[in-house]
Amino acid sequence: MSDRAGELRCSSCGCDVECCAFCDEVDCPSAACYRCVTEALGEAMAQPHAHGG
């Protein structure tokens, strides 16, 4: 499978995003997802365990 044209990915974690969670632009060269933005700004903390245990 190839990447779709115009697909935007988070520059930190690589997940697909519709627009940058910081600047709201769909063509942001350093797009970030909501989780990465909130963690970088200290608004949220990274989950210590993926399994939740």
Binding site: V37, A40, L41, E43
Partner: protein, 145 residues
Amino acid sequence: MVGKLDWLAAGLPTEGTDAARPRAGSMARADVPTCRLDEPLAEVRDRVRTAGWDACVVVNHERVVLGLLRAKELDADPGLRVEQAMRPGPSTFRPFVAIEEMASFMIDHDVPNAPVTTSDGRLVGLLRREDAARAAHQLHAGGHP
């Protein structure tokens, strides 16, 4: 019971060694012009520019942020109403965010201003990039850890 993060997110006063550190909420301009969804864009633009601003936050009657008018939106067709021209549901940031982080993100993303709100969406103020960058620079120059 309200948690610490809720307290900080409401922009309430804090104590301790980091309390005096500049943050998004303390640097945001509370005097930013605001408008309502149904106002004519031409009237809002005149009011905003007369006040020396290039941005306006769209709020409801409880000052909950609904949209943002930056320079580009203010220069849209003057026959539009605010809700037709605004950037709907803009990203907002909490008052406790460190000013260095905000300045860094705003410069990287070329964002001229960013709305700061409480966690329930009420407007605290508009953080301007130049204010954030100046505060971050002064913090760095002052050798604050």
